[in-house]
């Protein structure tokens, strides 16, 4: 047997073996057995040294050609097998995409919080700063500074929680005390909204809650008018309910505004035609508003001849109820996760 014969036999055997491989590991095993450091071809090539000087160049060239051929064959086979392997993997890895996903626990914000944030943003767009005030308040700010002197029958309208102690301290019955506090600490122009929790001594039912949230608005400057009040409230309604909303003012009485009104927005569910949400009136009652009473301006040290202002207040829970069809105000303080989760995507 000559070297050349051996080489030819090896080539034939190896190519046949390569053809018989069926997967990537077999191809790789073939590579080790044939082309690897301890492989057949390598072993054969070591025999080159034993050849005579005349035979060597020819044999070397032939051996190299076989090596290149086998290497290329290996690479080709490997590609085929890799492709087949990938095909298999893709096939066996297939999943039922309708199985539920791996969900990280996600909590929710309270709808009252979300509504307060939404309103703050709406009013920020109109240049109103959001400020906050204390929930435990002196009757000086809760009543006196708001043109509600003690002994005045208007005080009965707010059924007030009293705090034990020497001074006259109450749980604020509205966010309006901040009107006085804000005006005392700034000079016009003033544009603020005040969200916060308020308390009234009331029996609870589906529409009455003793601890509830309000948003107060106040604008004072040299040329603030009731038309501005209506415009600002309409803009708010448009942002909250969408579409081209209308605002209705009805004369009403609040000691700290004059003229005073209650305001309603036309129902966006039925476009004012009347439906269950608006109790077939076509209107959603939102809150009270009016022009800041000169006594309130004066009590805060403002020149009531020079400045005018408007103020409004609305109930946050009520607003969520109207916009989201919640029919019982007690759900907000109930904090049942089954209720809260309905607003997990925001309100």
């Amino acid at each position: 047997m000559t070297f050349t014969d051996d080489l030819a036999a090896l080539r034939q055997r190896a190519l046949a073996a390569l053809d018989e491989t069926t997967d990537l590991p077999e191809v790789q095993a073939w590579e080790r057995a044939t082309l690897g450091g301890k492989g057949e071809l390598t072993g054969l090539l070591r025999g080159l040294g034993r050849l005579s000087a005349e035979e060597r160049p020819e044999a070397g060239r032939a051996a190299n050609m076989v090596k290149v051929e086998l290497t290329e064959a290996f690479a080709g086979r490997q590609r085929v097998m890799a492709a087949a392997d990938l095909r298999d993997r893709l096939a066996t890895d297939a999943i039922d995409v309708t199985l539920p996903g791996r969900q990280p626990a996600v909590g929710t914000l309270h709808p009252v919080t979300e509504m307060i944030e939404e309103l703050s943003e709406i009013f920020a767009l109109m240049g109103f700063q959001t400020v906050y005030g204390p929930e435990v308040e002196t009757s000086h700010y809760n009543f006196d500074q708001l043109n509600i002197p003690s002994d005045h029958p208007a005080r009965d309208v707010w059924d007030t929680f009293l705090v034990e102690g020497e001074g006259e301290v109450v749980l604020r019955t509205h966010t309006s005390p901040m009107q006085a506090r804000v005006m005392e600490s700034t000079t016009p122009p003033v544009r603020v909204v005040v969200p916060g929790r308020c308390y009234r001594f009331e029996a609870q039912d589906a529409s009455h809650e003793w601890a509830f949230h309000q948003l107060e608005g106040l604008a004072v400057d040299e040329r603030i008018t009731m038309a501005d009040l209506k415009g600002v409230l309409r803009e708010m309604a448009r942002q909250l309910f969408g579409g081209d909303r209308r605002i209705r003012f009805r004369c009403d009485f609040f000691p700290f505004v004059e003229p005073g009104v209650d305001f309603a927005v036309d129902c966006s569910v039925c476009d004012g035609k009347g439906c269950r949400v608006c109790k077939y009136t076509g209107w959603l009652e939102m809150g009270g508003a009016g022009m800041v009473h000169p006594n309130v301006l004066r009590a805060a040290g403002y020149d009531a001849e020079r400045y005018t202002g408007f103020a409004f207040g609305l109930g946050i829970e009520r607003l969520v109820m109207m916009r989201h069809g919640v029919d019982d105000v007690r759900a907000f303080a109930g904090n049942d996760l089954r209720f809260l989760r309905q607003f997990a995507g925001g309100i």
Binding site: P100, Q103, L109, H110, V136, P153, F249, C251, P255
Partner: protein, 819 residues
């Protein structure tokens, strides 16, 4: 409504009138037809009455009701020819008179045979019509009832109930409402008939006033020859529709006039008044009075009373006394009409805890000119209802009559306030119809409006009041909509609130849901947090701890057992978590709210923005990926770390084993959150017995409370962006064996010190205790990330670092590097 139409014939449908009044500020709360029903019931004339041929007690009656001429059978004993009666035809819904049910049971009338004779309809009793309980005989209508007319048109009415806000006392009467309706519709007001007080025999011995401050006016009239009996039907009916119970003609007339003119009146039986006259004075020490509700009342020196020569006979403006009450045998009365100081009345009724129709009116501040109208109207009614009665004496003590006043304003003020100018003719016409007397003067931009205000409009004193009067009648629909013009104020965002908002969002992202609970707590909530015992001296609270007696306390709490304003959010949040746990496998709740901390010498408490967190139940909602185990201390700690630990604070936020565990927390599973030297929070698991007592069946309930205000104050900077290293980090694991008592934080600090500045991250990935490493030892394994901003780290550097770490661990925590 009939009453109102009599005074102001607007010709409007009740609902339309109610709507227009509501828009103008008189809110109609209810519009209701009284009584309900009465379809197919007509006024009929009895033309013939015959005996029933087969039954002695029954009559056959021919009734003519215009289009309907019927023969009906009735057992009513009082039936007679010529009577006008209520005739019900088949289909009418009537009240079944024979049921004992307290709520009316209706039945629909069908034609039927009574003893063989067809009865095509029925004549009705008052009970069947829902007018009274009377069912002895049929109801006989008055002679002027129009035969054939629907009964509804003759007797029915519509009641509109208005809500009278405190400023609307002038509209707290039919006449007052009529004036408003007149201004809105243009219909004229016809004020009901009154006697002319000047024609009455004057006297100086009927009334006297001792205290003019509290009683600026007192008018009295003596009427003799009265007969006490039931009031006329029309008067009774109007009282009933207004929700008052008829008593007798004299009392009914005083009530009627109160409704009609808004002036409360009182009638005394004059023979039971010592001296036959009354005086308005303050009560004397020790005086008492049995009021009409048969309560013996103690009177105090700041109360105004009406007294006779000897004793009080009434609490002024609130309620009269029993002794001088009008009775069946009364023949001579003293009728009183007065003006009282509103604040005095309010004081009396609060002290006596006695609220009456009269006090509700007086304490709103009535027009001192109203008693004249009131008494004149009442006398006119009494003289009409009691023929033979005469007014024998009249006296009116009114030393300082209140006169109309003026309000002056520039006409331009309308536009300044409303944002739209109102034409002068509109202003003039509107104000005039409302009873004001407007006049204009000056010219051009200087035009001024002076309004003379009638004395009943005590609510109109400033220009804005006048503007509202015009605006509400003109209608706010016409108001344009504009956005405020002029400068915008500088806006300072409330950074603390913005940050709280971020914290809330991070907590929600970390799987906790926000609650807003009630701010009151009480013994049941606080006892479980203070070791089961509770009295006013027990320290209560979590972050803020003080005796319950030092908490803010409500005088009038909604729930009597929860009178305190909370100094911790924990009890209320625990209660919500326990409640939710009944239907949730996993509960993670948080609240961001105020806690109230009274401060010595300060009127208002410190309101501290506080965060509470409660977690309990399964770690993951059951599904195919569910992680095993239940929520515990580490879950709560992790949530706090991810929600609060991302801020840049002046000192690191660390969890230190609590030195003095709170009584409700598991002593081995609670920590203080510290920021430098300052405690800013508490975290721990409930003691199992406490968990049970607050409603959990879970072994583990993790709780935390954090002072957000303190944390916010410690936020030093906003984060600075640094360039990310260009070279990839190297990671090495360090398993460190230490004594079991050494805290993980101590080991970590030693590790960090040894690793130096090149270590940029450290994660504890394994905690192990076992035989291999020796008793009372534990192994803590960290993966440390090393990186340098300017180069790739070499093996040599890492080897050097490793040996330095080994040395520092040995020194500081007696730790040994394993492996």
């Amino acid at each position: 409504m009939r009453w109102l139409e009599e005074i102001v014939p607007t010709g409007l449908e009740p609902r339309e009138l109610a709507r227009r009044m509501t828009m103008a500020g008189l809110e109609a709360e209810r519009v209701e037809e009284v009584p309900a029903g009465w379809d197919n019931v007509f006024v009929g004339l009895v033309t013939r009455v015959d005996r029933h041929p087969d039954a002695d007690r029954l009559n056959l009656v021919d009734v003519d009701a215009g289009e309907h001429k019927l023969r009906v059978v009735t057992g009513a004993p009082n039936i007679a020819e010529g009577q006008r009666v209520a005739l019900a035809l088949a289909g009418a819904r009537l009240i079944d008179p024979y049921t004992e049910s307290p709520t009316p049971v209706y039945k629909t009338l069908k034609p039927g045979k009574i003893r063989g004779i067809v009865s095509e309809g029925m004549v009705c009793s008052e009970r069947e019509l829902g007018l009274s309980d009377e069912h002895e005989g049929i109801m006989v209508l008055s002679e002027d009832a129009p035969v054939g007319a629907p009964l509804k048109a003759w007797l029915g009415d519509t009641v509109i109930e208005f809500e009278i806000t405190p400023n609307l006392v002038h509209a707290f009467s039919i006449v007052g409402i009529a004036r408003q309706a007149s201004a809105l519709t243009g219909a004229d007001v016809r004020v009901p008939r009154r006697v002319d007080l000047h024609t009455l025999p004057g006297s100086s011995d009927v009334v006297a006033v001792d205290d003019v401050d509290l009683c600026p006016r007192l008018a009295g009239a003596v009427v003799t020859g009265v007969t006490v009996g039931p009031s006329p039907e029309w008067l009774q009916r109007r009282l009933v529709h207004a929700g008052l119970r008829p008593v007798n003609n004299l009392v009914d007339i005083t009530n009627y006039v109160m409704l009609e003119f808004g002036q409360p009146l009182h009638a005394y039986d004059r023979r039971r008044l010592a001296g036959g006259r009354i005086v308005a004075r303050r009560a004397r020490p020790g005086e008492t009075l049995e009021t009409l509700d048969h309560q013996r009342r103690d009177l105090t020196g700041d109360m105004l009373v009406i007294a006779d020569a000897e004793k009080p006979v009434g609490v002024a403006g609130v309620m009269g006394g029993v002794d001088s009450e009008v009775a069946d045998d009364t023949t001579e009365i003293l009728l009183e009409a007065a003006a009282f100081d509103m604040k005095a009345i309010r004081r009396s009724r609060t002290t006596l805890r006695l609220r009456t129709d009269a006090s509700a009116r007086f304490e709103r501040g009535l027009d001192p000119n109203l008693p004249g109208d009131g008494i004149a109207r009442a006398l006119s009614l009494i003289l009409a209802v009691c023929p033979g009665s005469t007014v024998t004496a009249f006296q009116d003590v009114y030393p300082e009559p209140v006169l109309p006043w003026h309000v002056t304003l520039p006409v331009s003020r309308f536009e300044r306030v409303l944002g739209v100018a109102i034409p002068e003719p509109t202003i003039e016409e509107t104000l005039t119809r409302l009873g004001f007397a407007p006049s204009f003067e000056g010219d051009g931009g200087e035009r001024r409006l002076t309004v003379t205000v009638p004395t009943e409009r005590r609510d109109v004193t400033i220009p804005e009041d006048v503007i509202e009067e015009v605006a509400r009648v003109v209608g706010y629909d016409t108001l344009p909509e504009t956005l405020p013009s002029g400068r915008l104020p500088a806006i300072d965002r409330a950074l603390d609130v913005d940050w709280q908002r971020a914290v809330r969002r991070r907590l929600a992202a970390a799987g906790a849901s926000e609650c807003i609970s009630y701010p009151t707590v009480g013994a049941p909530d606080l006892a479980s947090l203070s070791g089961g015992t509770f009295d006013e001296a027990t320290l209560v609270g979590v972050l803020d701890r003080r005796p319950a007696v030092d908490l803010l306390t409500l005088v009038n709490p909604i729930q009597a057992e929860r009178p305190y304003l909370r100094n911790t959010l924990v009890p209320s949040l625990l209660a919500l978590a326990a409640e939710n746990r009944k239907h949730e496998t996993r509960v993670a709740l948080f609240e961001v709210g105020s806690t109230f901390r009274p401060v010595q010498g300060q009127e208002l408490p410190d309101e501290v923005a506080t965060l509470a967190l409660v977690m309990s139940g399964a770690r993951a909602v059951t599904d195919r990926f569910a992680a095993a185990g239940t929520l515990d201390y580490f879950d709560a700690k992790g949530v706090l770390e991810s929600a609060l630990g991302v801020d840049t604070l002046s000192a690191p936020l660390v969890f230190v084993a609590a030195e003095q565990p709170l009584p409700f927390l598991h002593p081995g599973r609670t920590a203080d959150l510290r920021l430098g030297d300052r405690q800013v929070g508490v975290i721990g698991e409930l003691r199992p017995d406490v968990a049970r007592s607050v409603g959990f069946e879970d072994a583990r309930v993790a709780v935390a409370e954090v002072d957000l205000r303190a944390l916010f104050a410690a936020r030093v900077t906003r984060p600075t962006g640094k360039r990310v290293p260009r070279f990839l980090p190297a990671q090495q694991d360090f398993a460190i064996v230490v004594d079991r008592s050494v805290s993980a934080d101590a080991v970590r600090d030693a590790l960090a010190a040894g690793a130096g500045a090149l270590a940029t991250g450290m994660t504890l990935f394994d905690v192990f205790e076992g035989e291999q490493i020796g008793a009372d030892r534990k192994s803590l394994a960290w993966r440390v990330t090393f990186e340098a901003p300017d180069r790739a780290l070499t093996d040599a550097e890492l080897v050097k670092t490793r040996s330095r770490i080994a040395k520092v661990l040995k020194q500081r925590v007696d730790g040994v590097l394993r492996g």
